[in-house]
Symmetry: C2
Subunit: 343 residues, 2 copies
């Protein structure tokens, strides 16, 4: 019997879970409770793509070569600098007889577990990708374990749109859960114009938020978010500047936020998020660029009685909630379509 | 007027909060809302001391030299590798006329904000320290801001004991708050034989925990924790081995824990903590060695519906709660006295 969490695919170091492993074994036969996917497209995590692109000064060929090198040496797309991966889309190729995932060959699916723990082989050298965007056309194979999370893609939405939505579907689900624990809380979403940020704003409103503010770094994003109509207010501020950020949030909400959601994929937003949040409030960190120590010591140093959550990408029902928001909220859909077209 | 969070002491980069700064200005006159402390002793954060000691192979003179170099170049004791600091004990030397901290010259105090944001000058080259323990005899000066947190040391407890307790007083306070949100939850404390772990176990029991287990790595710690009588069960496991850890916790509690508290100051405990926790449960990360990405992606990869908290070192009333536990729980007091004597 193979391990439901994939321990049998770990090559080194032995005994750790696949996400913690340096190298996985993506080859070999499909285990009795595994599923093999024929890959069509990878969606790199935003923090990972940004790091690679900046490292290579925007040289797409060099970015592509490094992604290939990571996958071939690690047996998974696990950026060693950011620690993050992304997700993939593909077609079910083979299903082990004991798999609990209820898939059948031919199903078109997106994985909702990170690429950092998904065994992966690339067979086309990523020849169809220019290295300039997060969405990577790709031929190859990937393996799902018994305890993986996967969504069959809906027929009524474009596959690239669905992939972009599912990639960040933990954010709206956890935001909704936290918001519904308060009575009409004020909510600030840092990076409200991005994919996870727009979904978080829509989810917060639906979950009973009072005043909301989306914080964005540049005027063009402000205009797009205003047009989308997802927040009571839109404020322009650099989330890495704690004093300016807190002033912008307080100005928009009439005081610090009860719930602050961090969806900005750059380092250094911890202190601003804490300073912008009211005592008794909650900060949800969704950015993979979050520093644990900066958050913990920042709150202590500011004597801030705030609850700080590590943004867990898994909440039951998260895929359905996020897809429903895109279907039913024209503002969310428009933002996503523009983002997908730009990638 | 000076900034209540100390922005005026930041030398570089300008505009960030003191904790995020590379370098602070510890010199200059005491601001109207500041307090100057004559330092007697530093208590280095456990993760920081361990990193320095391992880097120098236990060579105390080399550790001392590096601590001096960090303080003189950064104007604070902020380990650049671990990102952590510690705290200090001293006597109030000068109080600005607008300070809200209600201190007077001569008060013996411990700072409850991290050394990573406390302007500090050392004047004795740490001549009284052998570099072999976390407690550092020290002559020098430190500055508190208006929004700092500080405790006047109690007369009925040894100062070194009080300092060790106050250093980790956020852990029992947050553990108590989380435990009281469940009905008779089962609680696992990883590193239950350490200072924060022992306090967390005692706080969990007092806050209404059902079965509790303290997990420790070696037999000597197991025996000490059993003798202290702070947990229903004591289990021996390496918290970095997820499968072994989850089995040990389930064996002791009869199933996964409702609340798991991570007090182990080594990297790589995130996956084990998540795997040892029940769906609907909460993991509290107090270790500064916690990786944000490993926690976030680990929970997602395991499809684990757990709430993950960044251990905020500040909870109102935390100092009083921790000191009261040491006074009233002989098991806690015995463990602390042994730890302090060994340092």
């Amino acid at each position: 019997m193979t391990s439901p969490v994939g321990l049998h695919r770990v090559l080194e170091p032995v005994g750790v879970l696949p996400q913690a492993a340096w190298r996985l074994d993506p080859a070999g036969p499909v285990g009795v409770d595994e599923v093999r996917i024929r890959v069509e497209r990878l969606n790199l995590d935003a923090a990972s793509f940004r790091q690679l692109s900046e490292k290579h000064g925007g040289d797409g060929a060099a970015v592509r070569a490094e992604v290939l090198e990571i996958i071939s040496s690690r047996g998974k797309m696990h950026n060693p600098v950011t620690g993050s991966g992304g997700m993939l889309i593909g077609v079910v190729d083979e299903v082990g007889p004991s798999s609990p995932l209820r898939l059948k060959p031919g199903d078109r699916v997106a994985t909702l577990v990170s690429l950092t723990l998904t065994p992966l082989v690339v067979t086309d050298a990523l020849a169809g990708w220019d290295g300039l965007g997060e969405q990577v056309p790709c031929a190859g194979y990937a393996v799902l374990f018994a305890r993986s999370v996967v969504a069959v893609l809906p027929d009524d939405l474009d596959a690239r749109l669905s992939l972009a939505v599912l990639d960040v579907c933990g954010a709206p689900a956890l935001t909704a859960r936290v918001v519904s624990g308060y009575v009409s809380p004020s909510v600030a979403v840092l990076g409200g114009g991005g994919k996870s940020g727009a979904l978080a704003l829509a989810a917060a409103r639906r979950a009973g938020a009072g005043r909301t503010v989306g914080v964005v770094p540049v005027a063009a994003e402000r205009d797009r978010l205003l047009a989308a109509g997802l927040a009571s207010e839109v404020a322009l501020a650099d989330a890495r500047d704690p004093v300016a950020l807190a002033a912008a949030v307080s100005g928009a909400l009439g005081g610090p936020a009860d719930v602050t959601v961090v969806c900005v994929d750059v380092p250094g937003c911890e202190h601003g998020a804490i300073l912008a949040t009211a005592d008794g409030g909650t900060v949800i960190f969704f950015s993979m660029a979050t520093s644990f120590a900066a958050a913990a010591l920042g709150a202590e140093g500011l004597a801030a009685d705030v609850t700080m959550l590590v943004g867990n990408g898994y909440v039951p029902g998260h895929a359905e909630l996020a897809l429903d928001l895109v279907r039913s909220e024209p503002g969310v859909r428009a933002l996503f379509q523009a983002r997908v077209a730009a990638d």
